[in-house]
């Protein structure tokens, strides 16, 4: 697989480390009344879809940036690559 890094251009996926579903960006509020359930679901449950999947890849052997890659889990086709920082900011995160 080739990941088209937004800053560095096309890079071999072997340079990256895979973390998992990009939903991991949305860490629950630890002060919520149901924080226990929320963190259980955040830490352990996954949508695991067959098809489009947004996921976190870390460019360990490159610029060490975190990316959100949109990839099809049935074909391995990559349709979008964004910096995780940009995705988090779009979702309203401050830093």
């Amino acid at each position: 697989m080739i990941i088209d890094h937004p800053l560095l251009g096309p890079r071999d996926a072997a340079e990256f480390v895979y973390l998992g579903d990009a939903a991991l960006i949305d860490r629950p509020d630890w002060q919520a009344a149901d924080a226990m359930e929320q963190f259980h679901s955040y830490g352990y449950l996954r949508d695991n879809p067959a098809g489009q999947h947004q996921e976190l890849w870390y460019h360990e052997q490159g610029d060490r940036s975190w990316l959100v890659v949109t990839r099809n889990t049935l074909t391995h086709e990559i349709t979008a690559v964004e910096l995780a920082r940009d995705v988090a900011r779009k979702r309203g995160r401050g830093k």
Partner: protein, 416 residues
């Protein structure tokens, strides 16, 4: 029909005209006591033990493709019970004991071969860990044998003992481990279940669940609705997709594991050998091919094929312990989709929906578990309580903190 050596001889002398089909091809009925989703190794063994051990024969096994077309036909055929934790080891040893009597039990030649499995030791720390593992195996009634490099050199002279980076210091044997003929395991269970009255329905895809007021009343399929008192998911590899139809999110990611086979060679490897410093395991099939594999690719996928970096990594592992493997030509490689769970251990449990049961999360250890998985799942389905060896394989263990994490990796499925 009962199979025997005499029968083979007789049929050979009379033109092989007396063989009949090993199982029927029935039309689905409108209702069953139990519907098992998935006609792979685990689904078929569940049906077999339901019929044989628990007397439940009004059972259907629904298979989307053809019988045994998933991971039961794609694995590297290793059987062993060399686990560490109390939640796992008694279960796998129970499985090993079922393997040892499988052929007599099912009257089918599954080619179970207890040719031994060896885990190599490369460091002092690893030796300590394997001593602990061996003791844990003894506690569950399994066999284990620690050997030093001098003895290994006598038994397996072809290993690279003086490798500069990963010298071999010894190994942990389980002599009762070995291999089995994977397809024949599915076929033997299918024949045994069918002959006791279980309907095995191929080319029948489950497309939805009939769930009303928190109870599962049956399934929708590509061949019409089927009612059932109990519905049993048994689709490791596709668990995410099937459970999603019931509105469930699972502690599972789907990953691809690749496997490889070389050209046929003369007898070379006496048993199964695994690398202790990287991830590599190899055995020789009865046809002569070296069957080997290593790590999963490491990203979510439902595609039954992997990528080249892992091919390279696996072959490097092989070269590190057994340089002679470099002279063998690779014949085929393929991929199978694994349920990688959050702690690397499986699930055999009820779900939060009445009448809906779940078996999955086998990571890449499902084949060796085939007999016990079926037995314990059948026990749960028949009695509504877990088999004594599978009490910890619960879906809610991440909420309660009772994880079964053999490697201590945490909730990172691609590291298990």
């Amino acid at each position: 029909m009962r199979y025997s050596g005499f029968k083979v001889l007789w049929e050979g002398l009379t033109g092989n005209k007396g063989w009949t089909r090993a199982w029927r091809e029935p039309e689905p009925k409108a209702e069953y006591d139990i519907v098992i989703i998935g006609g792979g190794g685990h689904g078929l063994s569940t049906a077999y033990y339901l019929a044989k051990e628990f007397g439940l024969t009004n059972v259907a096994v629904l298979e989307k493709g053809w019988l045994g077309s998933g991971n039961i036909g794609r694995n590297t055929t290793i059987i062993r019970s060399n686990y560490l934790l109390p939640g796992n080891e008694p279960f796998y040893e129970f499985s090993m004991k079922l393997w040892e009597n499988l052929e007599q039990d099912t009257n089918y030649n599954s080619m179970v071969s207890q040719r031994s499995i060896l885990n190599l030791i490369h460091t002092d720390g690893q030796r300590d860990a394997f001593v602990r593992r061996a003791n844990s195996m003894f506690l569950a009634g399994a066999d284990a044998e620690l050997v030093d490099a001098a003895q290994l050199k006598k038994e397996l002279p072809f290993l690279d003992y003086d490798n500069a980076r990963f010298p071999i210091k010894g190994g942990l044997f389980q002599r009762r481990g070995g291999t089995a003929r994977h397809d024949a395991v599915a076929w033997g269970y299918a024949r045994g279940a069918d002959s006791r009255g279980v309907d095995i329905i191929q080319n029948c895809e489950v497309t939805g669940f009939q769930i009303e007021n928190g109870s599962c009343l049956g399934v929708e399929t590509s061949r019409g609705p089927i009612r059932a008192k109990k519905v049993a998911m048994c689709v490791a590899g596709s668990s995410g997709r099937v459970a999603a139809m019931a509105g469930m999110r699972l502690p599972i990611e789907s990953h691809v594991l690749q496997a490889f086979v070389s050209e046929g060679l003369k007898p070379t490897l006496p048993g199964v050998i695994t690398f202790g410093a990287g991830h590599f395991y190899v055995s020789q099939s009865d046809k002569g091919g070296l069957v080997f594999g290593g790590d999963i690719d490491g990203y979510n996928t439902y595609a039954q094929r992997g990528n080249l970096p892992v091919v390279e990594d696996v072959c490097e592992g092989g070269m590190a312990i057994m340089p002679m493997i470099g002279r063998a030509r690779l014949l085929r490689s393929w991929g199978g989709v694994m349920d990688m769970s959050m702690d690397g251990s499986p699930f055999i449990d009820k779900t939060h929906i009445d009448g809906l049961y779940f078996n999955g999360g086998w990571c890449y250890g499902g084949f060796k578990a085939t007999p016990a998985s079926g037995f314990c799942y059948a026990h749960l389905l028949a009695k509504d309580e877990p088999h004594p060896t599978a009490t910890e394989m619960r879906l809610d263990r991440f909420m309660t903190g009772n994880l079964i994490d053999e490697k201590g990796m945490g909730n990172q499925p691609n590291l298990h």
